[in-house]
């Protein structure tokens, strides 16, 4: 009899514990409760429950802790300070898979907030146990462990190096080959976080044979997976020419171009980032992309999205055009310039406008044909207005000024240059007048047009210091025309004529 009563006391206590921990776990899903929970001292209560006899209570306590730590970094710090991590790490090695998942969730929640917290996790030896979890049979455990490792490696290069030294990379590459989609996503995201910091880390990931598997997964229909895979490949390719060549050798072209047509915006963005990182290294790689028709695909992609999604595509066009004039010509014939000018005028954000201005400058700076192709689309006035406007950021002003300068120095398309005579600031006016002085001596039709459109008049009105370059240009323009015309258009000529009329005495015979 009394034995049963004694046992009943224990059962009641167990029930109470279970109820408490389940309710706390549920309350922790809602952010408004967490402050109250924190003030009520939930951390110190949850900690002993982690060591409970009943496994369910342990797991639910770990789950509750994870949700709390996930919310903000004060709670995560409290988890670290409360010495909970060593216990978690120790039991990670031993317990069943539900507990492992919950414990990995806690580690992930703590590690994601700041590098110091992630360092604390590394210091208590969690990396080795997480790597052991990566070898577990249950895919949920692997996913939780890979997620935790990815969040730790995200912060900086030392933490990434620590993750790599724990031997995570080959196991992550194995995880990528597993059939579960969620696991593939998380493993790809972890590899991307590891390889983004330095070329050595990216080389380690490549040496584990990740590129071939990542390249195969580009064809997968799941869009979140494609995001992570493309992000991983672009983080690998961005560091050096060799890595970019290895990514290209995995035969991603032209498959990657289909990702540019995906419905998901971030897939498009990551695909254009990948292409940009490959194109920026050498002219040969850019040529490869152009030969595969990548430029047209990127231009279509720019046309179909808005905002920050466009930015990598715009930069890619700029990098391709910057390498050589043939590639710039290839960009022009793929109808890139109208698209870029649309971006320049439509986009509200300054950094995207700056990128578009830079790209246009790179396209137009090579030869007069290129400058003409850019000038024909009427972008030069837009660039000028961006340069002159006070609302543009400094970066935008600098980039548009450089673009204007580069294009103007090669532009011989006079109809586009004429508006510049009227409203350009003096430092740009110098270049405009210089271009006129180069073109007019050789082309009679242009001379006539120059006179009839009022350009000669405007040139006469420009005040320049004698001996300066501007004055020389003005003189060389004036030398193309007969004396009377120049005098006719010089300012104040009508006044002098009238003065002569006034002072003329008619001959009275």
């Amino acid at each position: 009899m009394s034995q049963r009563q004694v046992l009943q006391v224990f059962e009641q206590y167990q029930k109470a514990r279970t109820q408490f921990v389940q309710m706390v776990a549920e309350l922790a899903t809602r952010p408004q409760n967490i402050e109250t929970l924190q003030n009520a001292g939930v951390m110190s209560l949850l900690r002993p429950l982690l060591l409970d006899v009943v496994p369910t209570i342990q797991q639910t306590a770990a789950l509750a802790l994870g949700r709390l730590a996930n919310y903000n970094d004060d709670l995560a710090e409290a988890v670290v300070k409360g010495d909970i991590l060593p216990q978690l790490v120790y039991s990670l090695a031993e317990q069943n898979r539900f507990y492992k998942k919950a414990a990995a969730f806690v580690l992930r929640a703590v590690g994601k907030h700041s590098p110091q917290l992630a360092q604390a996790i590394v210091d208590c030896g969690a990396l080795d146990t997480l790597v052991i979890c990566l070898e577990d049979f249950d895919p949920g455990v692997k996913e939780a462990a890979a997620w935790a490792l990815g969040y730790i490696a995200r912060h900086n290069a030392e933490l990434s190096q620590a993750v790599v030294d724990a031997g995570a990379v080959p196991l992550l590459v194995l995880c990528i080959q597993e059939p579960e989609i969620a696991l593939k996503r998380i493993a790809a995201s972890a590899l991307s976080d590891i390889s983004k910091h330095s070329p050595e880390l990216a080389q380690t990931v490549v040496d584990a044979g990740a590129i071939a598997h990542l390249a195969q997964m580009i064809l997968n229909p799941d869009s979140k997976l494609k995001r992570q895979v493309l992000s991983a490949l672009s983080q690998i390719a961005k560091h050096s020419v060799d890595l970019a060549e290895m990514v290209v050798e995995a035969e991603i072209f032209p498959v990657v171009l289909t990702c540019l047509k995906d419905k998901d915006e971030y897939v498009k963005k990551n695909a254009s980032t990948l292409i940009r990182e490959i194109a920026k290294h050498t002219p040969e790689l850019s040529q490869l992309i152009v030969n595969a028709g990548g430029v047209a695909a990127v231009i279509d992609c720019i046309g179909s999205c808005k905002g920050n999604i466009r930015l990598p595509g715009i930069m890619m066009l700029g990098y391709v055009a910057a390498h050589s004039e043939n590639l710039a010509m290839a960009v022009i014939i793929s109808k890139g310039v109208p698209q870029l000018s649309v971006c320049l005028s439509e986009e509200p954000e300054d950094h995207i406008k700056a990128a578009a201005a830079w790209a246009l400058g790179q396209i137009g700076r090579h030869t007069p044909e290129h400058a003409r192709a850019v000038a024909v689309t009427n972008t030069l006035p837009v660039l000028l207005s961006l340069y002159m406007s006070t609302e543009s950021s400094e970066d935008l002003q600098v980039k548009s000024k450089k673009a204007i300068k580069n294009i103007l120095q090669k532009c011989t398309y006079l109809p586009a240059l004429e508006p510049f005579l009227y409203d350009a600031p003096p430092n740009i006016l110098k270049h405009v007048v210089g271009q006129f002085s180069k073109v007019l001596p050789h082309d009679s039709k242009a001379r006539r047009l120059f006179v009839t459109s009022g350009g000669l008049k405007k040139v006469q009105e420009i005040k320049a210091e004698p001996g300066s370059l501007l004055q020389e240009y003005i003189n060389s323009i004036n030398n193309c025309y007969p004396e009377e015309i120049v005098r006719y258009y010089s300012p104040g000529y009508s006044d002098t004529l009238l003065q002569r009329v006034d002072s003329y005495q008619p001959l009275t015979n």
Partner: protein, 362 residues
Amino acid sequence: MATLARLQARSTFVAHQYYYRNSVVDVFRKKEYDAAVKIQSWFRGCQVRAYIRYLHRIATVIQKWWRGYSGREEYRLLVKFASCAMKMNFYNAMAVRIQRRWRGYRIRKYCFNYFYLKEYLRAVSETNDAIREALEEFAEMKEREEKKADLEREEKERDYQARKMHYLLSTKQIPGIYNSPFRKDPDPWELRLQKAKPLTSQRSKVKDKHWVSPNSWLECTSARSFPRSEVLPPIDRKQCQGPFRDITEVLEQRYKPLEPTLRVAEPINELNVAREEFRRQEWMRNVNDNMFLPFSTYHKNKKYTPLMHSSSKYGPNSYGSRHFRDENSKKWICDKDFQTVLPSFDLFSKYGKLYSKAGQII
């Protein structure tokens, strides 16, 4: 002596006369001398002048010849240089022509081949168009697939609804709600209901049915004892009215794990299985399958089968057991047996006494 006196008287006269005549002559002498000197000097002058003139003429001739010669030499040099320069200019001009052609060819062929560039750009634009088309097709295909998937999903959804609402089918007596008598045609839902199979109540399967053996009681406990779902029941759920027991107790009781007795937990033929196992081990290990029977009483009735080798009718061969040497006395050369003590052999007794004397030291 008279002449002497006369001469001496006349001597002064003679002296005077002599002096007078000499002095008269002297007066003219200077003149005549001067005149003669003048004439002579003039004549000498003429001579000398003529000579000088002659010399001048000759020197002029020589100089003239010399000047002509050196001038001609200079002129030859000038002509040579001029002709050289002309030739060089000509060669240069021709070389420039060749170089011009060559430079143009080289640039056009190797550095910047305009037509190649045009071809390349044309090929690039063709590739671009092809890629654009391909991507359009791909996007269209994706669209179509999505639409198809949507339609299928909707169809499935409607089918499921129809199966659930199967009881709303119209019967002969009562027209269903989708088959109003005032309508011309029955509602499409009516037709769907007719086609649908009724839904059985136990439709939902347990999603992840992992078979846990009773041996791993730890997992068993966690999987079965408390049904874990993502969403816990709301906290402030009021107790259902009525004589219901506490839900946790009920679930506890329902999902109480199996606690088998030892008799039940072990398989019923456990002993046989163990014996089989043991026998298998022995069969694997043992060389001889017969059981070892220690005392001869067990083998009492067994007949001994001797070896064929030793039990042949020709009798056992003593060779191999009694003696190991073949003894054939007819072949013996002498009647002495082998010596058991080996004599020493002489290693160097034959040194220098071989048949051939070649290479020997004498």
